[in-house]
Symmetry: C2
Subunit: 234 residues, 2 copies
């Protein structure tokens, strides 16, 4: 009886934590979308809001880590249950980093617009990677919400599309910079934005991997075969 009671309490507390993690996920998703809007069209207030939201996200990270610790100490989960808590702790870290990257994008966008340094075609250049990354993040959070291992597995490959797109953006920007060296500084800022987006994709992929870890009970991190040739560089 005590076991069952304790287990129900455990489930209830875990569900509360998971809801808050999803709330945190919703915040960083909005942060990212809003940061991209700030890159497209200058909006100082909006950019400041994205930057300020980083504090909210940071506080959520600390309090959720704390809630997970308390859950472990009070409920002494079984190995199986603990896996979910461990994965949740890792997901929280990734969400916090996504918030950081979104704030970086907002800061860089603000600076670019303030200098009147943003080129019209820069947004077009990163539109594809931004959409793909937004979708990946949304789907990873969805897979986490429903603990859908099958969906999560499909997402892993999407991150490679994002990495590929990033390298293509880099090549394009290098061409522009060489053609007109006066654009180097603003092109570099756009490159940092693209890099931040690519990192958000990495974090979204991590979240998908943790979902698989919970559902399948196996750790699929680092199981992908190494790059085909050691000469292949990013």
């Amino acid at each position: 009886m005590i076991g069952e009671h304790s287990s129900k309490q455990y489930d209830h507390e875990l569900e509360t934590i998971r809801s808050k993690v999803l709330l945190m996920g919703g915040i960083v998703e909005t942060q990212f979308q809003e940061a991209m809007n700030c890159f497209r069209v200058s909006n100082v207030e909006r950019a400041d809001h994205v930057i300020a939201e980083d504090n909210t996200v940071n506080q959520l990270e600390v309090s959720l880590d704390d809630a997970c610790s308390h859950l472990i100490v009070r409920r002494q989960p079984t190995a199986n249950d603990l896996r979910t808590v461990m994965a949740t702790i890792k997901v929280i870290t990734d969400l916090e980093r996504i918030g950081d990257e979104a704030a970086k994008i907002a800061r860089t966008s603000k600076s670019l617009h303030a200098r009147g340094a943003i080129a019209l075609n820069h947004y077009d250049m990163i539109r594809t990677i931004a959409t793909a990354t937004g979708d990946l993040l949304h789907d990873a959070l969805d897979a986490f919400a429903r603990l859908d291992g099958k969906q999560a597995l499909q997402l892993i490959a999407q991150d490679e599309v994002i990495d590929h797109e990033f390298r293509s953006i880099m090549r394009n920007l290098i061409t522009f910079m060489m053609e007109d060296p006066r654009t180097i500084s603003s092109a570099l800022d756009t490159l940092w934005v693209a890099k931040a987006i690519e990192r958000i994709g990495d974090h979204a992929k991590n979240i998908a991997e943790y979902v698989i870890y919970v559902v399948e009970g196996k750790d699929i991190r680092h199981t992908k075969p190494a790059a085909p040739s050691p000469d292949h560089t990013a």
Copy 2:
């Protein structure tokens, strides 16, 4: 009696995990130093070794995460003891990311040398940031080994020196690129190396913060006041 026995077992198992984390720390420290050597002087074999070591580090991450889970389930630590395990889990993640960044530096260095594209002054330009970051990483691991909160606290400020140095490198490289657009591609590669070093500094700072969390029992992440002005961009 059982409590005491269990506690001793716990201490013993935790010490084993901590030793392995320090071993992992030693590997990534060497990876970073070797990667910097590869940037300075072309050495394909050495670069390949740094890249291959990433697998060792990844496997250590998975097995150490597993060991931490087992420890929690079997020994059911108190809130106080659990703090150390939680911090250890976070340190492991940071060490793995440092390994990733070191492998990136080795890959980029190899590619730069293969193209004969490395400029002599590029190493001079990043020498300072590389030394400061190597020292910070070493000291952070040392603070973790000795659980020295005082030392860890002193390290937090060092990361700002590294961030400052990174921005100075970026400005210098932009100047070089504008003066001679043919160098854009190689200057960008050097910039990615500097960025990877700066990220290693971030991870080393995280490790110092986790040491403080264990020793002082308080979470000092995100407690620094926000940047003085919202117009200040990195």
